[in-house]
């Protein structure tokens, strides 16, 4: 993986993502006109994006930059996915619940260019975080959101560096389950989260 195409500079994987064989099939990068073929092409792209993001620990895709990644560019066969096709793929992922559009600065133009990729659903993250709280004995303590994502204790965790939006959604799940509670500071800002033991 060249540094140019590296999606995240922090990733220090020694081996690059093992692309499946379909990735070397030139028509895979062309939007197929036949609807049936297109459906299976979409699901293949869906899987590929999820796998790639998980492998490289990518939380969001911003299409303006992501279109340059080797995920969408096979330089060996010099094929690349077009931006509009890429959007269609993400659209279908959003429909399936594997991704979610995030409105960047709120303007219409930047809408639908950036998406959160749920290579794990918020519910799954909630379970993982709850387990982690359990096993590290942090029940009934108050943690800031930053501590969960970037703290020393979460260094080896899967959710290390988790996107705040995803983390918030995962915490919402825990709150609904009654396993956590958001603590607000005096000025009304969310300061931290308190975990209760899971029953």
């Amino acid at each position: 993986m060249s540094t140019l195409t590296s999606p995240i500079s922090t990733s220090s994987r020694s081996t690059s993502f093992p692309f499946p064989s379909i990735y070397s099939f030139p028509p895979f990068f062309t939007r197929q006109p036949n609807s049936q073929t297109w459906t299976s092409q979409l699901s293949l792209w869906n899987s590929l994006i999820l796998a790639y993001c998980r492998y490289n620990r990518i939380w969001r895709i911003d299409l303006n930059t992501a279109i340059e990644w080797d995920l969408f560019n096979n330089r060996d066969i010099s094929r690349s996915l077009k931006l509009e096709t890429c959007k269609e793929v993400l659209d279908s992922m959003v429909k399936k619940g594997d991704a979610e559009w995030v409105s960047g600065s709120g303007s219409q133009v930047s809408k639908n260019t950036s998406a959160i990729i749920y290579w794990r659903r918020p519910e799954e993250w909630a379970n993982i975080i709850a387990d982690w709280i359990d096993s590290t004995g942090q029940k009934n303590t108050i943690l800031t959101l930053y501590e969960i994502a970037e703290g020393d204790l979460s260094l080896s965790q899967d959710f290390r560096g988790i996107d705040p939006t995803i983390l918030r959604k995962a915490l919402d799940v825990l709150i609904r389950r009654g396993q956590a509670q958001i603590m607000k500071s005096a000025d009304g800002e969310e300061a931290g989260v308190k975990f209760f033991g899971s029953q």
Binding site: S14, P27, Q32, T37, S40, L44, L155, D158
Partner: protein, 643 residues
């Protein structure tokens, strides 16, 4: 000599023309009559007027019910305009030899005509042989096809014959042949009853019928009421109107007929007037005649043209020319057929051979020069040019050492030079409906395509290509694209082995009717499967160009076929700047379990690590902050997600 002659048909059911014969006019929806009798099975067909013949091609069963009248046999033609319900007709009277042969009264003339007179079982029977064998054959030809039951039209008092296939209460009542008005059913029933009664009495007297008939023929029939000596052909007394004993009619003969082998010839039988006349000596003044009924107009034009052709008598000229041509052909053929192995350049021997060769060369040069004088003379000489080209082709084909390319070029050029049959023009349809013209055009197109043109186009040709190829072959009086389109759209209607097909994009092609899309697509996909893997250095996949090279279709057709296959999900495309490449659809049937395939290793490790979770975690959290990402991922805590 006979009235009806068999004809050969092309694959498109057009008559095969003789050398020098040309098509002049076509008319559809015509029926044939012999004398006054409708010939069943010959009532809906196309009529072709050529320079030599009038050909009838039946629509329903063209292979069996198609006949021709040779124009040289025709004496005169007569035109009958539409009258009430009866369609306009052209009556064809045949030349004397014919009528003489069929006329029973003048044995001498039939003897004179013996060289031409037919074998006994042919349609026209000479009566002098009306002893056992002749009589049998005569009845054989009339048997079963015509009943001699007649009825009198209450409107015009014309005596009509009931059609052979008439079944009481089942068939429609036939209209009067003269005024076209249908009689009330009672008239027919009366006639049937009457004839039934007569047959009974006649069959009783059948023993000596033959002797009676021969006697009566000479003397006429005495009326049982008033004793007037009627002509033997009369069925009712001319004076008092009483029914005459019809001794000529003998039902027992019909029984006998059934045991005889039926004539398997596909010519209509000589029936009605002539058969009867030969028996009864009737219609001496009315020789054999044939009527053609025009149910769909075009009668007048046909009549005029036929008249023209008859006065021109082109066959006589052509006969002379054909003889000439034969001579030249034998000359040109000599060098070809004679052994070329010796020395291909000198086919004949000695000075005489050289002379002949020079002479021949000179003739060819003359042909070439004179034909290039102006276009018109080229067109008139076209036929000679083609035969010359064919001569060259034969010579080329039989001589070794000629490059294939030259051979192919010559073949193609001679193919493009002219059509095998005279061109179909709008005039041929006689100014009638366009439908006739398009039908004929479609037939000729089919013949043209069938002659290898479509094959060289890979079995599918765009309408543009067909237009260009066909018009080039026509040479003169080109057809318009609209004509071509209309002609092609009736292919299937006419049962021709081609069809027009429109692709999704609107591209229209002509292809063999048998090749349906599925077969084409399947062969295409099979080929793509084998061809998409290219040697290293080249891009995989096939382009429309590759398809064109393999299948011989034009590029437009290739693209359409590829896209059709793609629409069916059999192929998928790879669109890049350089063009579109096609692959067998591997996308549709690939399933990829990414979680397993990529993170399989992870899950295995998870299982191992899960055994000693307490050990791992303190390590991870305290001592090893700079752990690599692999280890991060392999931590047991993702179990909840991936398990």
């Amino acid at each position: 000599m006979r009235l009806w002659n068999p004809i050969d048909l092309t694959a498109a059911y057009r008559p095969v023309l003789f050398i020098d014969e040309t098509d002049i006019l076509v008319q559809n929806s015509v029926g044939l009559y012999e004398g006054r009798v409708r010939l069943s099975g010959y009532q809906n067909g196309r009529l072709y007027l050529t320079s030599h013949r009038i050909c009838y091609v039946d629509v329903a069963s063209p292979l069996t019910n198609s006949v021709a009248i040779n124009l040289p046999d025709v004496k005169t033609i007569q035109y009958t305009a539409r009258f009430l319900k009866s369609s306009p007709k052209i009556t064809i009277h045949f030349a004397d030899t014919l009528s003489a042969a069929s006329s029973p009264i003048s044995p001498s003339s039939s003897v004179n005509g013996t060289p031409q007179s037919p074998s006994p079982n042919e349609s026209t029977v000479s009566l002098p042989n009306l002893t056992n064998f002749g009589a049998l054959s005569l009845k054989q030809s009339t048997s079963g096809l015509i009943s001699l039951i007649s009825w009198i039209c209450p409107i015009c008092s014309h005596s009509n014959n009931l059609p052979s296939n008439y079944r009481p209460n089942v068939s429609l009542i036939p209209p009067c042949t003269v005024c076209g008005v249908k009689p009330p059913e009672s008239v027919i029933q009366d006639a049937l009853a009457e004839s039934g009664a007569n047959e009974m009495t006649e069959s009783l007297a059948s023993d000596d019928s033959s002797s009676i008939s021969s006697g009566v023929e000479q003397e006429g029939l005495a009326c049982p009421k008033c004793t007037f000596l009627n002509n033997s052909s009369m069925r009712y007394c001319e004076i008092c109107g009483a029914r005459l004993p019809t001794t000529a009619f003998n039902p027992s003969d019909y029984v006998l007929d059934k045991n005889l082998p039926r004539r398997e010839s596909y010519l209509p039988f000589k029936m009605g007037g002539s058969a009867e006349s030969s028996r009864n000596g009737l219609q001496e003044e009315l020789p054999t005649l044939v009527k053609i009924s025009f149910r769909n107009g075009g009668d007048k034009a046909f009549y005029d043209k036929t008249k023209e052709v008859l006065t021109e008598r082109t066959w006589l000229k052509n006969l002379a020319r054909a003889k000439q041509a034969e001579q030249t052909i034998t000359i040109t053929k000599n060098p070809v057929t004679e052994p070329i192995q010796q020395r291909p350049i000198t086919p004949s021997f000695g000075i005489h051979g050289l002379q002949r060769m020079v002479e021949r060369e000179r003739m060819h040069n003359q042909d070439l020069m004179s034909s290039l004088d102006d276009l018109h003379s080229l067109m008139t000489k076209a036929k000679d040019m083609v035969s010359l080209a064919e001569g060259f082709a034969i010579r080329l084909a039989s001589s070794p050492g000629v490059p294939d390319e030259a051979r192919r070029a010559l073949r193609e050029s001679s193919q493009a030079l002219s059509l095998s049959s005279p061109i179909v023009t709008k005039e041929m349809a006689g100014g009638g409906s366009d439908q006739i013209y398009y039908g004929e055009l479609a037939r000729q197109l089919a013949e043209f395509l069938d002659s290898g043109v479509l094959k060289s186009e890979g079995g599918i040709a765009t309408l543009f290509d067909v237009f260009a190829l066909y018009n080039r072959a026509r040479g003169i009086s080109l057809i318009s694209p609209k004509d071509l389109y209309s002609a092609c759209s009736v292919f299937e209607e006419l049962g021709l082995p081609f069809k027009m097909r429109r692709f999704k994009s609107g591209l229209t092609v002509v292809q063999e009717a048998l090749k349906n899309d599925d077969i084409t697509i399947r062969s295409l996909v099979d080929w793509v499967k084998a061809a998409e893997k290219k040697p290293s250095g080249e891009e995989n996949g096939v382009t429309a160009q590759d398809v064109r090279q393999h299948f011989g279709w034009s590029v437009g057709v290739c693209v359409e076929e590829l896209e059709t296959a793609q629409d069916q999900g059999k192929l998928c495309s790879d669109i890049v700047v350089e063009g579109t490449r096609y692959f067998v659809n591997a996308i549709a049937d690939v399933s990829w379990d990414w979680k397993y395939e990529i993170f399989k290793e992870v899950e295995e490790r998870e299982c191992l690590d899960a055994r000693e979770p307490t050990k791992v975690h303190p390590e991870v959290s305290n001592d090893n902050p700079g752990q690599s990402m692999e280890q991060v991922i392999s931590s047991p805590h993702i179990t909840g997600g991936s398990a």
